[in-house]
């Protein structure tokens, strides 16, 4: 068979059912091999959208996402999505066509150095120069994408390699040994147990690494046995059930006051699969200033990178967490944290009839099915979603965390809907973000995907405008989007029904109409441009110095 056919056969052998992409000249042999294949290809309307759909597929399912693009502009359009996957540790395999090796380096049509471009945005990248290496390389790509700290892997395949003849014998799929026992660091674990037992004010700081290690049950057992408060990063929301009395919510720049104050006051910070990101820590030197740190991660490079840990462990949280579960002695601290949580609870008593986005999102959260997936874009609405919606699992909340990529939400929702066809999938977007990958409405139409789209529209680039208001003397440079299109008419052009609301009393009937509609639906929610996200830790400030005065 040809190399191109091997690519598709190997995807089939690996059990890949859905891939996302866009054809073009240098990848035509692979698209030809795809024709009538068992692998279902979803034609996106822009390669960035296709790769975000693969990311949404991966993040909502725990499987590897696969996307394809042609050489040159097809491949460069993947770059943003690859960077997004790298920053959020998403297992993604991107296959790109490349011009034939005979013309590589001659500035051929649609030729660009994809391998070179990939260095800064992938966990690893390959270029296949000989068809006999193709099978092994693709197997390595899948293994690398999922192993250790997951991430994106790119495989660039020149057209001559796609067209070359090669032998391929389908192999029995080897069962991965997921329960492989690792060496446990006994001394470090003993140190961790002692630190936990002797702490007066311990707190668990939980990141996306916990659910990526499939360690959510172990984490919840740990929190139950070693009763202590917990906070989560944006990526880890849903790891701790909202019903947990000692769960204080998200920490960081737009975190809850209780979460930030508790972390600032703690004497032991147990960092689990998180990385002391600047949006979490605020002023790093003033972050959790009295705390000793236990830090566990699968990536050795994260340990001591930004904060020195008294006890650092590399390893699998599924095995380490049970070995760290010891009783704590911190009843007064627990009471204090519960008290702070009550004192700083959200308020929804917003005056007037204009829609208050936090309340609308809380109502949306209360009415969506338990296992619904919410895919966010980036900006004010993203932070409101994190603050005011509840999630039963981190795979139900997809948000571009590390890269903060506007345009993520809609295509990610497409991938999530395909990965989990029985679950309700919502794309919650802002008017700015929505327009960044709006072309993917065409993908929703083509495949009749029942994605529910909620656009929180303040006719502004709201988060940038908020910073201009607070930190740039109200000089609103290029953040006015008051000439937005009519979003309901725009959806209608793609045969997607919709409705626009602007008053509080319209919210509940509109949500009811959206959830009862069997297909895709767009709900356009007009909000006041002066609404801002609170609390906010100003840039360069310590997390206890949150701005909150305009919160109510």
């Amino acid at each position: 068979m040809k190399g191109a056919e091997l690519v598709i056969k190997l995807l089939e052998q690996k059990g890949v059912e859905h891939i996302f992409g866009y054809p073009g000249g240098a990848i035509m042999p692979i698209y030809d091999a795809l024709y009538q294949s068992k692998v279902k290809h979803y034609l996106c309307r822009h390669e960035q959208g296709g790769a975000f759909s693969a990311i949404g597929y991966a993040r909502s399912s725990g499987k590897v996402g696969v996307c394809m693009a042609t050489s040159g502009p097809g491949a460069t359009n993947l770059i943003t999505s690859l960077a997004d996957a790298l920053l959020d540790s998403v297992p993604l395999v991107a296959i790109t066509g490349q011009v034939s090796q005979a013309v590589m380096g001659t500035d051929a049509f649609q030729e660009v150095d994809v391998l070179g471009l990939s260095l800064a945005v992938t966990k690893h990248s390959f270029m296949v120069t000989d068809v006999t290496e193709l099978e092994h390389t693709l197997n390595e790509a899948f293994e690398l994408a999922m192993s250790g700290r997951p991430g994106p892997v790119l495989v660039d395949i020149p057209k001559d390699v796609q067209l070359a003849e090669v032998q391929f014998k389908p192999r029995l799929v080897e069962e991965a040994d997921t329960a492989q026992q690792q060496f446990l660091p006994a001394a470090a674990l003993e140190q961790a147990r002692l630190l936990i037992q002797s702490a007066k004010r311990p707190i668990a700081y939980i990141g996306g690494g916990v659910h990526m290690a499939d360690a959510v049950p172990q984490l919840q057992d740990f929190l139950a046995k070693s009763a202590m408060p917990s906070v989560t990063t944006l990526k880890a929301m849903g790891t701790v059930p909202p019903s947990n009395s000692y769960y204080l919510g998200m920490l960081g720049m737009h975190g809850t006051q209780a979460a930030n104050l508790a972390v600032q006051q703690c004497d032991l910070l147990i960092c689990l699969g998180a990385r002391f990101d600047d949006r979490v820590t605020g002023k790093l030197a003033a972050f959790a200033p009295d705390a000793k740190v236990i830090h566990i991660d699968i990536d050795p490079a994260e340990l001591h990178k930004l904060r020195r840990a008294e006890c650092a462990m590399i390893g699998d949280l599924r095995q380490l967490l049970p070995a760290m579960s010891v009783p704590t002695h911190c009843q007064d601290w627990l009471k204090h944290c519960v008290s702070m949580k009550q004192q700083h609870g959200w308020r929804y008593d917003h005056p007037g009839e204009r829609i208050f986005a936090p309340l609308m999102l809380k109502q949306l959260s209360e009415r969506m099915p338990d296992n619904a997936v919410v895919c966010c874009d980036v900006g004010q609405h993203q932070m409101w979603v994190a603050q005011h919606m509840s999630f039963s699992h981190p795979r139900n909340h997809l948000s571009s965390g590390g890269l903060g990529t506007m345009g993520f939400g809609l295509p990610a929702a497409i991938g999530a809907q395909l990965a989990r066809p029985k679950d309700t999938v919502l794309a919650v977007s802002g008017d700015g973000s929505f327009m960044m990958n709006v072309q993917e409405l065409g993908t929703i139409k083509r495949f009749r995907l029942p994605v529910k789209i909620v656009i929180v529209d303040n006719q502004r680039l709201g988060m940038v405008k908020q910073w201009q208001e607070l930190f740039f003397n109200e000089r609103y440079s290029e953040t006015d989007l008051s000439d937005n299109p009519d979003f309901v008419s725009l959806a209608a052009a793609f045969a997607i029904p919709g409705h626009s609301i602007s008053r509080k009393d319209e919210v509940l009937p509109a949500l009811e109409a959206m959830f009862t509609w069997p297909g895709p639906y767009l709900l356009h929610v007009r909000i006041d441009e002066t609404d801002n996200v609170w609390p906010l830790v100003p840039p360069g400030a310590a997390n206890q110095d949150m701005l909150t005065e305009k919160a109510q």
Partner: protein, 89 residues
């Protein structure tokens, strides 16, 4: 602080670029570099002289994650900043 990194790589395209890209991005300066093929041509032996005030582990931990790196050894160098500067390409 100056360090000399001795790195053994796989014989793969762009492996040198990967080393240099990570070194630059993580905020370290290359003061000198030597490269030669392994005796059996299975990869490259690269020696990097690195200048930085940051802990060298911030770089070596990242380099060790590169899939094409087979082996990495790091030793402190006696090189002064001025001497290192003269080696800069």
């Amino acid at each position: 602080m100056n360090h000399v990194l001795t790195i053994q790589t796989k014989n793969q395209p762009v492996v040198l670029e990967r080393l240099l890209q990570v070194t630059r991005y993580r905020g370290f300066e290359v003061a000198g570099m030597e490269m030669k093929p392994m005796a059996d041509f299975s990869g490259l032996l690269v020696t990097l002289s690195i200048v930085s005030d940051k802990p060298i582990s911030l770089l070596t931990n990242q380099l060790n994650k590169l899939y094409d790196i087979e082996y990495l050894d790091c030793v402190e160098s006696e090189l002064t900043q001025a001497e290192a500067g003269t080696m800069r390409a």
